[in-house]
């Protein structure tokens, strides 16, 4: 079937950087149109348009420096913390333009959580790490409610059984994989709608990675997840849709299965077959 598509259309040339595949979705949670990102005078992202569907895991892959992390950080305006970074275009969460002047980043980031490459638990107790978000957003009015939020978040992150006896111990004392799950629990605790993950397993060993991947699979039922990864097997295992970035351009988007078995764009093919990357 796909072969036929390719034969009908002219084959895509290697130099053509327009997005191919199916970047748009029937029921999008986030809509991104013509997004450009500049660091000072240097453009890091060019004219990226993509939808992020409900309850799907979108994997973003591509060689180092291709702009996938930069794009991810646009989605919850984390790039605001970088002085000379400028974003143009439109990014919508449901019906809200997140770069609108009236939008306050603080509640926005509570709706779009983020997990980072390196586990970054606060130097506080495990309990306080998870309770931090609910406390600042006033999600719990009593200690019992807070306890409940902490327990459910840790349970969802698959960490509760391992840490329930030592909630008062510092989060920095956990192993790398546990720390990353603690960070996921911390993000879940403020009940976000979207969770952004920036190479969440790159600092972890294979066993901890497998646990996190399983967790991502379970979380998909409740949250929309965007994950940046360097590991193509990981993208294939956890995601439903995959987006391939190349030097600031979004080259190809499609179902993960299709991208990995039958890429349209020669650059995508080169990357996933390991010809460069």
């Amino acid at each position: 079937m796909n072969k036929m598509v390719r034969m009908e259309d002219n084959p895509v040339s290697r130099e053509d950087r327009r997005t191919v595949g199916k970047p748009f979705s029937g029921s999008p949670r986030m809509i991104c149109r013509n997004v450009n990102v500049f660091y000072g005078d240097k453009q890091a992202i060019q004219e990226v348009s993509i939808d992020i569907g409900r309850n799907e895991v979108l994997a973003m892959i591509g060689p180092s420096g291709c702009g996938k992390s930069t794009f991810l950080r646009c989605l919850n305006r984390m790039n605001d913390t970088i002085d000379n970074c400028r974003v143009t275009g439109e990014i919508r969460l449901d019906d809200m333009d997140i770069y609108d002047r009236k939008v306050d980043v603080v509640p926005l980031r509570a709706r779009i959580g983020m997990v980072f490459q390196k586990p970054n638990p606060f130097p506080k107790s495990i309990y306080d790490n998870v309770a931090y978000g609910p406390k600042i957003h006033g999600l719990a009015s009593t200690r019992r409610e807070l306890d409940e939020i902490v327990e459910t978040s840790l349970t969802k992150a698959g960490l509760w059984d391992e840490v329930k006896e030592r909630l008062a111990q510092p989060g920095t004392g956990l192993s790398g994989g546990q720390q990353q799950r603690l960070c996921i629990a911390r993000a879940i605790a403020v009940s976000p709608e979207v969770i952004l993950m920036d190479e969440p397993c790159s600092a972890l060993d294979p066993i901890a990675t497998a646990t996190i991947e399983e967790l991502i699979n379970e979380l998909r039922t409740q949250y929309t997840i965007v994950i940046v990864t360097h590991n193509m097997q990981q993208a294939a295992r956890v995601s439903q849709r995959t987006a391939y970035f190349h030097l600031g351009d979004l080259i190809e988007v499609g179902s993960t299965k299709r991208i990995f078995t039958n890429p349209i764009h020669p650059l995508t093919e080169d990357y996933i077959t390991g010809r460069f990357g």
Partner: protein, 461 residues
């Protein structure tokens, strides 16, 4: 041979020694070339220089340290029939007379023939010693060079030897500071022991009256003196507390502003400006406190109907607080900047505001380091003298009222030691006891500070 000439000879010879060692190594490698050597040829040269220079320098240093004592002893032996029944004090007097005669500074009018003869003997011995010294130094230099040259072989580990000697040199350098500290402690300690033989420790530590006025001459009318250090330390604590009440919030707030709010340009301009405060001489702060701040405080206080003395703890404390702002700020800023960006990102990503992030994540993470910086600033405040001398006065009042004049430990030490003093009077020795106590207090503060700072470092590295 005189001293400078000797040094020049050693220096010139050392250059030759380098060349000799270099060439010897080079040729000992034979046809295989210098690659065959264990170390690069420069190391063989350097090793030769070290063995050429160190023995003569060692001999010269030993001579300049011990020669005077030995020579004086020998000279006094010639007049042993006189010195036999003299007291130690008289002997030390005789020794200084002898040295004066030898150096030709002046000849004591009462000098007798035996003393002059001893001085002649001293000079004679010294001349022999100096000539022997030159010969010995040069001989050791040549001997050292030859020994190394003979032993240079391709397999000789010249680099390891040189590195060993370099590390010994570095160790020596680093221990000099330690030995100096030990020396300071011991000198203060011995004088303090003399003081405590005259004034009981308990009176010094717990006495409530500080009035170190002693009759210096027997016919002088004066109080017998009381040496209770409590008012003096209370003054120090009060002024340091006022200073920290000024410096801690101002320094910490400016550090937070600079590290998390200010943009890069502003920070680059303001941080050096604030650090200029640290470069203002304390005596300048002192007259600023005495001539500007103190009158303002007095006028203000009088307009409120309070009686304010013209020299007040408040004036000194406020200005001292300004002085230590850069310490608090600089250390806090470094510590806050050392909190990883990942923690800030983690907090922002949860929807925390900047102030929530600072209050709940950054400050708790940086707290140990900030506390360490504060304690270092306290040590600095306690040791400060000039501002207090000029702005807070000299009277040792035991009071909790910051509008009155108080005095501090360092100021008392200065006033006790200024002018002509008798070094066996408790009045003078009290300065050493105060110094010792102050040293112990700041040492404890510094140890606590360093401990906290070190513990903090382990958290992120």
């Amino acid at each position: 041979m005189n001293f400078p000439l000797l040094l020049i000879v050693i220096f010139v010879f050392s250059q030759a020694a380098y060349w000799l060692g270099y060439k010897k190594a080079f040729f000992s490698a034979g046809e295989k070339g210098p690659v065959h050597l264990h170390s690069r040829p420069q190391y063989y040269g350097t090793l030769t220089v070290l063995w050429c220079v160190i023995p003569p320098l060692f001999i010269l240093v030993a001579w300049s340290v011990f020669s005077e004592t030995v020579l004086t002893g020998l000279a006094l032996k010639t007049m042993s029939e006189y010195t036999g029944n003299l007291s130690p004090d008289e002997i030390s007097l005789l020794k200084s007379d002898l040295r004066n005669i030898v150096s030709g500074r002046f000849i004591p009018p009462a000098a007798d023939a035996a003393l002059l003869e001893a001085a002649d003997h001293y000079r004679h011995m010294r001349d022999i010693g100096r000539q022997g010294l030159s010969a010995l130094a040069l001989a050791s230099m040549i001997l050292g060079t030859i020994i190394v040259l003979v032993r240079i072989r391709p397999g000789m580990r010249a680099r390891n030897h040189v590195e060993k000697m370099i590390s010994i040199t570095l160790i020596t350098c680093s221990t000099i500071a330690i030995f100096t500290t030990v020396g300071i402690v011991l000198s203060v300690l011995f004088e303090s022991i003399l003081f405590f033989q005259q004034v009981p420790v308990t009176e010094f530590l717990f006495g409530l009256k500080w009035s170190p006025q002693m009759a210096i001459r027997a016919d002088q009318v004066a109080a017998s003196g009381s040496f209770g250090a409590v008012p003096v330390f209370a003054g120090t604590v009060m002024i340091s507390t006022i200073a920290m009440l000024v410096a801690a919030p101002l320094g910490l707030m400016s550090a937070i502003y600079l590290s998390d709010y200010a943009d890069r340009k502003f920070r680059a301009a303001v941080k050096p400006l604030l650090e200029i405060l640290a470069g203002v001489p304390t005596v300048v702060y002192g007259f600023f406190a005495a001539l500007t701040v103190a009158p303002v405080i007095r006028q203000f206080g009088e307009s409120l109907g309070l009686s304010v003395s013209s020299e007040s703890a408040l004036a000194a404390g406020l200005v001292m607080g300004i002085m230590i702002i850069p310490f608090v700020m600089s250390i806090s800023d470094d510590v806050i900047n050392a909190v990883p960006q990942a923690l800030r990102d983690g907090s922002y990503a949860l929807g925390a505001t900047k102030s929530e992030t600072i209050k709940k994540v950054i400050i708790p993470a940086a707290l140990p380091g900030i506390v360490g910086g504060m304690l270092l600033a306290v040590s600095r405040a306690i040791g400060e003298t000039m501002i207090v001398v000029m702005a807070a006065g000299l009277s040792a009042n035991l009071t909790a009222n910051p509008l009155q004049a108080v005095t501090t430990v360092t100021v008392q030490i200065v006033t006790l030691l200024v002018g002509d003093q008798e070094f066996d009077s408790p009045k003078t020795l009290a300065a050493f006891a105060l110094g010792l106590l102050l040293f112990v207090v700041t040492l404890i503060l510094n140890i606590i500070a360093l401990y906290i700072v070190r513990k903090y470092r382990e958290q992120y590295e």
